[in-house]
């Protein structure tokens, strides 16, 4: 009699064996501060940015775009300051990605005006020759569903009140529908007339893209 004639014992022992590496490299680190770095410069997403992030997830943008600049000369030259753990404190789930079919996006916020993003999302090749990104113009025809936005911010632990969430949504709507909005012409061009005064999925996605890496940039500016 040995373990190779006792299936329950073999199952138990193999479970123990796999738990060793699991405990050391995954379970214990979950409780270490080093996997939860925070910084006062890094602020949670606004409600609308969070909704934009969910559209980014829904459309699987993370399959082609990373959000991780590695500390390598060529990457810092191409994208900007390398990524710090603190920046991802509010990222549930994380969106670091594993493949760059398109460029990294963690420093894209503020790099282009909103109008560039609207145009690019509608027809990528109109601003980016030879791009193979799918077109996302149809996002402008979808009103942003905000029915569970408050619940989302609660689960994310952003700490907004219900009133703050509706104010954020109202402000974002006011911003993109304001005649003085600098990207108004481009936005209206691709937004159906009946949605021009409402917040669309496209608006939320652009808001999210413009937030990416902004905290690090503003931190650098204060230095």
């Amino acid at each position: 009699m040995n373990i190779y004639s006792k299936p329950a014992a073999l199952a138990f022992l193999s479970a123990l064996v796999i738990l060793v590496g699991t405990t050391v490299t995954m379970f214990i680190p979950l409780f270490l501060p080093s996997t939860h770095p925070v910084s006062r410069y890094v602020r949670p997403y606004t409600s609308v940015e969070l909704e934009g992030r969910d559209i980014y997830i829904r459309e699987g943008c993370n399959n082609c775009h990373t959000q991780m600049v590695r500390p390598l000369i060529s990457e810092v030259l191409r994208y900007g300051e390398y990524s710090k753990g603190e920046e991802y404190a509010w990222d549930r789930p994380f969106l670091w990605g594993s493949r760059r079919i398109g460029p990294d996006l963690i420093r894209v916020g503020g790099k282009y005006p909103d109008s560039w993003h609207y145009r690019h999302l509608q027809r990528p090749r109109s601003v980016s020759r030879l791009s193979i990104m799918p077109p996302f113009g149809w996002l402008a025809s979808n009103t942003l569903d905000t029915s569970s936005t408050f619940r989302k911010t609660v689960i994310q632990g952003f700490g907004y009140t219900r009133r703050q969430v509706s104010l954020q949504i109202r402000d974002a709507t006011a911003r993109v529908t304001d005649p003085a909005y600098s990207s108004k012409a481009t936005r209206d061009q691709l937004t159906p007339v009946d949605l021009e005064n409402r917040l669309t999925e496209m608006d939320a996605l652009v808001a999210y893209l413009q937030k990416l890496g902004r905290d690090v940039k503003s931190m650098e500016a204060t230095r």
Partner: protein, 463 residues
């Protein structure tokens, strides 16, 4: 024990499921590979690359591989324990629930319900279904093991047992999420911690689907097909325990040069290098089992599936750890090189072994010879050629892309824009599509051969 008493329809039905999801997953893959040089193929939101890519990976990892694993597991478990499937109706329910789950997975992913965590994209209600069918399988598996009439547990059973207990742990921990609605949830973990949990899962789920059960098939079907006994029992013991021990430490080699604490990355590198030993323990055991009987590659149409399969496993388990080294990772990570790596494992190792195993089982299921051995030979050469072209093209493309992205002029500026690097890859992407077509043709022959083998057998002879 009388052969006819075993429950074989369940084996056959999971075999059909495997072939169906294989074809579906490959079609998604072909469409995606075309999109990568002709973006006009992103016709609708649900055909756009970001959504379709996860359909491809999920259908092949879970749809195809899991059904092939269940098919062969139900076969091996009954045979190796000389015990009839105790709960045939539970197994049937398992079959239905499994296929329903995969269908729901595909539909929900096409609809954009996607948690974004790789190989764990399914939303929480589908996660519960996954755990449901896994439990159904595990009940039958352990019931067979407890009622067995064979004293010793053969090597293949060790691998199946470790898979059966490990997969649920991985799946549950990484999929812990807070539901927002029925169709949307957020991960329990944030940022760096989420990344660590995800790649602990991602690496090991692939290991416990694409390695452990496939090794179980290798250890069972190679000796069965060739009549050659396993070379060293001791080597299989050592490699089994060291493989399942070391595997779980290495997830962080997917997170090199990220903000993940450096010690976790370094530990992952060390264990990745160590993993070459147990992996090659199996490879060497396989080669010595074959023991210079290279003539069998000619005379036994099954032998080449297993010997080429294990050779690709050997190459895969050398390439993988090397890619994990920081310097090489800095160059290759995020490029097509990794796509080549993955496809050598899946198209070379996994599919070769599953093909050989299915072909071996067919006469046991039908009571007659395979419909066409010649077709099986052509199938072999087509999937070998398709896989070799695809992987080598992707490696070459990855080397080119990595180099272009890193290239810096003497004045300190970047030589190439991102779009330059993309444009340089178009010829590679076109070749990759052609390779995919060759491979797909081989898989169609495989499917046709299996269907004809069963359908030309009279109902009363079928088992």
């Amino acid at each position: 024990m009388d052969d006819t008493a075993y429950n074989l329809p369940i084996v056959r039905h999971f075999m059909y499921s495997a072939l169906f999801w294989l074809a579906a997953g490959l079609l998604a893959g072909l469409w995606l590979s075309f999109e990568m040089f002709e973006p006009a193929l992103n016709l609708t939101p649900w055909l756009s690359f970001g959504r379709l890519r996860v359909v491809h990976t999920n259908l092949l990892t879970f749809g195809f591989s899991l059904s092939a694993i269940f098919s062969t597991a139900y076969y091996m478990l009954q045979r190796l324990n000389r015990t009839i499937l105790p709960f045939p109706r539970l197994a049937r329910a398992h079959l239905y629930l499994f296929n329903t789950t995969i269908l729901l997975a595909a539909v929900s992913l096409l609809a954009g319900m996607n948690t974004s965590k790789e190989y764990a994209e399914l939303e929480w209600p589908i996660d519960l279904l996954v755990l449901g069918f896994w439990t159904m399988y595990a009940v039958n598996a352990f019931a067979i093991l407890f009622r067995r009439r064979e004293q010793q547990l053969y090597i293949s059973l060790w691998y199946l047992i470790s898979m059966t207990v490990t997969i649920p742990l991985l799946y549950i921990v990484n999929n812990l999420e807070v539901p927002v609605t029925l169709l949307k949830s957020y991960s329990m973990y944030a940022g760096t911690a989420d990344a660590d949990v995800q790649w602990w899962y991602g690496h090991n789920t692939i290991g416990f689907i694409y390695t452990m059960p496939i090794l179980a098939m290798f250890y069972y079907f190679l000796p069965r097909s060739t009549g050659l006994p396993i070379y060293s029992h001791r080597l299989s013991i050592i490699s089994f325990w060291s493989l399942i021990f070391a595997y779980l430490w290495t997830g962080a080699h997917h997170l090199m040069l990220t903000p993940l604490p450096e010690w976790i990355q370094t530990v992952a590198i060390a264990f990745s290098i160590f993993l070459i030993a147990p992996s090659w323990g199996v490879v060497i055991n396989g080669y010595y089992t074959f023991g210079g009987r290279w003539d069998l590659l000619r005379s036994n149409y099954l032998a080449k599936f297993f010997m080429f399969g294990i050779s690709f496993y050997g190459l895969q388990t050398l390439q993988g750890p090397l890619q994990g080294l920081r310097t090489l990772n800095a160059y290759f990570h995020y490029t097509d090189w990794v796509i080549g790596h993955v496809h050598m494992g899946t198209m070379g190792w996994v599919t070769m072994i599953i093909s050989g195993s299915f072909y071996y089982m067919i006469p046991k299921l039908t009571g007659r010879e395979l419909y066409s051995i010649r077709l099986a030979d052509i199938h072999f050469w087509l999937i070998l050629a398709g896989q070799l072209i695809l992987t080598m093209v992707m490696w070459a493309g990855g080397i080119l892309q990595g180099g272009m992205l890193k290239s810096i002029n003497s004045d300190g500026s970047l030589t190439w824009s991102f779009l330059d690097t993309l444009a340089a890859l178009f010829p590679y992407y076109q070749l990759r599509f052609a390779a995919g077509v060759i491979y797909f043709a081989g898989i169609l022959l495989f499917t046709w051969n299996i269907i004809r083998s069963v359908s030309t057998t009279p109902e009363r002879v079928r088992k």
